[in-house]
Symmetry: C2
Subunit: 483 residues, 2 copies
Amino acid sequence: MRMPEPNAAVMARRALIVADLKRLCPAAECVIEAEDEIRAYETDGLSAYRQIPLAVVLPRTTEEVAAVMRYCHQERIPVTARGAGTSLAGGAMPTADGVVLGLMKLNAILDLDFANRTATVEAGVTNIAITQAVEHEGFFYAPDPSSQLACSIGGNVANNSGGAHCLKYGVTTNNLLGVKLVTVEGDIVEIGGKHLDAAGYDLLGLLCGSEGQLGVVTEVTVRILKAPEGARPMLLGFKSNRQAGACVDAIIASGIIPVALEFMDKPAIHAVEAFVHAGYPLDVEAVLIAEVEGNDTEIDDLLARITKIAKAHDASYLRVASNAAEAAAIWKGRKSAFGAVGRISPDYICIDGTIPTSALPETLDRIGQISRSYGLEVANIFHAGDGNLHPLILYNANAPGELEKAEQCSAEILKLCVDVGGCLSGEHGVGIEKRDLMDYQFEAHELALQKRIKAAFDPHDILNVGKVFPLEDATTTALGRAA
Amino acid sequence: MRMPEPNAAVMARRALIVADLKRLCPAAECVIEAEDEIRAYETDGLSAYRQIPLAVVLPRTTEEVAAVMRYCHQERIPVTARGAGTSLAGGAMPTADGVVLGLMKLNAILDLDFANRTATVEAGVTNIAITQAVEHEGFFYAPDPSSQLACSIGGNVANNSGGAHCLKYGVTTNNLLGVKLVTVEGDIVEIGGKHLDAAGYDLLGLLCGSEGQLGVVTEVTVRILKAPEGARPMLLGFKSNRQAGACVDAIIASGIIPVALEFMDKPAIHAVEAFVHAGYPLDVEAVLIAEVEGNDTEIDDLLARITKIAKAHDASYLRVASNAAEAAAIWKGRKSAFGAVGRISPDYICIDGTIPTSALPETLDRIGQISRSYGLEVANIFHAGDGNLHPLILYNANAPGELEKAEQCSAEILKLCVDVGGCLSGEHGVGIEKRDLMDYQFEAHELALQKRIKAAFDPHDILNVGKVFPLEDATTTALGRAA
């Protein structure tokens, strides 16, 4: 879906706005207007959607962010805040009539406080950089999205990001203590901090996952945790998706909380083996990776209990990593899975629905039926322990109509997630991708309430417009409002 | 602070409203108007403040709650939702011109789902009843406020309640998965559910702790957890508050997360020993109770590590509970502490500030200085591990001016919490008690943002008015608006 190139009126508006932004952020290379440079910001991880913005501004300080927001609020200029641009749902995609506010120059680590177990960093710092900054003291930052080498902590806050190890430690909102927020009016607000809880309303909880629609986060304080003594994964193979799903359900119902419990089905297993030779069994329909943490005694005990449950669910393959190399190989397969699928299919849509874990077996059956009804192949690779599904719908964008078919298939699977008591998004956000499904999940009065909250923060509706909510009328283009 | 009794105009208004409420909730004993019966609702756990409401309505269903809300919204009648009335901050206190909406008839346990580890109950169910309903399967509900035998889960959601065991398991918001909310317009909204995360904004996080100002919760879905194999407390004594505080800090900084880490100072210890003879040492200035969980090996290991840290901080007394009776005695002292203080002082104010744990030693010193400057005694009893302080300011309400002096002392201690990087409230809420300190913690534009959020939910401002925010003008009485 490619939008028309900007016309002359847009070019004139761009020139005016660029001049103003240069006044507000006067340092070199803080405002980008050249066509070839601006193109780097036309899309994010949802690359089927592209849009050139009017301009890109890269402030260096919270104060410059505040000045830009104050200006855009006064001038009614749409703003899309952007971290590393790794959104899989189009959350960082610009509008034709707006500016991109990139936060990558805000990349300082401000405070590491081991006594209070907190780290305070600027929003553009990558997820992995937080762990790298504290690991010399034996600490780590728990949420670990697959994109953690690239994605920024500000983007994690906007999307309430998760990851493979969030089953035990929770997602971003469970590890977030405070933010510095620039409001749409350009006020700088401190929310939360190093202490437990907060007086007044829990704005921190509301902001986390609000997809950049309520304000711009410039600093983040997170909980850091002491790294466990050790961790060990095991690989479990099953003759059917349903058995694997039932085993996940039984492990969780037993009260064991593995630090990770990942699921891959046959198409994913074969793609991975052909790519990285992780040593996965090829004669099974599904594998699980279960990882537990603690000292050796605890690890032995937990893996023995998981093994017992797996055998009761007819696991046909069981292997505990006996050393660091075997553990790394097991994880290498999972971590390269998306890339591996990319090798066997020119394109895929990565879905991000969540379901109650008890609905896993039934949901996996239905996903197979739905994808077959569209004549599309699906590879299931996901965080099974907390019910966060990532089915990959394989398609060929060069075959006419296949993208649309894959999108319809994807929508049907997401509706299935809602039908079984789950929801549209686990960790990728709604963005552009799922906005038109929001009225499948929510009643009109529920969406109206959410919009009133947006209006309380953003009365002129300039922050990350065209996302999260179903598009309302023809004057709102698919990628934002008409210029 | 007792307000004038209602006048004739109020009486007439009451008669009209009572008739309407009886039409909406027609079953017997659902509307209370008799002076002697209504008096049971004039106050909550903050008994220094009292106010007779116009009427009390006790709906039996979510639909009746919705009908009452729709009516009160249309008629602009203030509504104070009330669970068990155990608020320590005046959060459930009525206004003279409003109705109390009591939720105690909504007391059904609706769904226990061990496969998904969730329990769904009506809002009037007590906190302890959730654990009682699931313990036969080896599960429990983690947050455990001291009032857990009486307090309702709806009130826990409104106040984001904590408890002694929340250091490991988190407070209400960390264990809450979904609610059924009646909006002020009388719409019924499902927020969250059994699945991870939610699409759209995180209204669940926002509602939790919003003190009944954004809507009325009628059903609650919480996470239930598998009970640990075992738990064991130990008692540690120190020659100074500062040493005990530094030891708490060192335990947390070591990465150990005890399931509870409680602090009591000398006045509290002596009051407790005189009351329940828990076997606490009397020749120390402070004791800590540290409890850890797991199997016997894990427990031995963790208590040995805590012992080593305590010795490094010059602990003068160390005792590990060697059996269930000794464990019960250690906890009996802590759990009866507030009652014990009630025996040595006719009245006390229980403060509820939080601080970064690293500020504990300094803050305890300053609390001692502040209370001495007012000539008041203070007993410190609190959840030290997560920095949630509960200093008790002892005073005599019958001595002229002592309540005011105690309130000033309390306000000064709460400001101290803010000054050291903490906040006004840990788990009791702001309510009436701390509303006038909110502008010490928050800037004007921060409070304005919070008020815009309230307006998004409650445009006519009828829900639990006169709480949380500083009172604005003379037409707003201390206990609500003028009738």
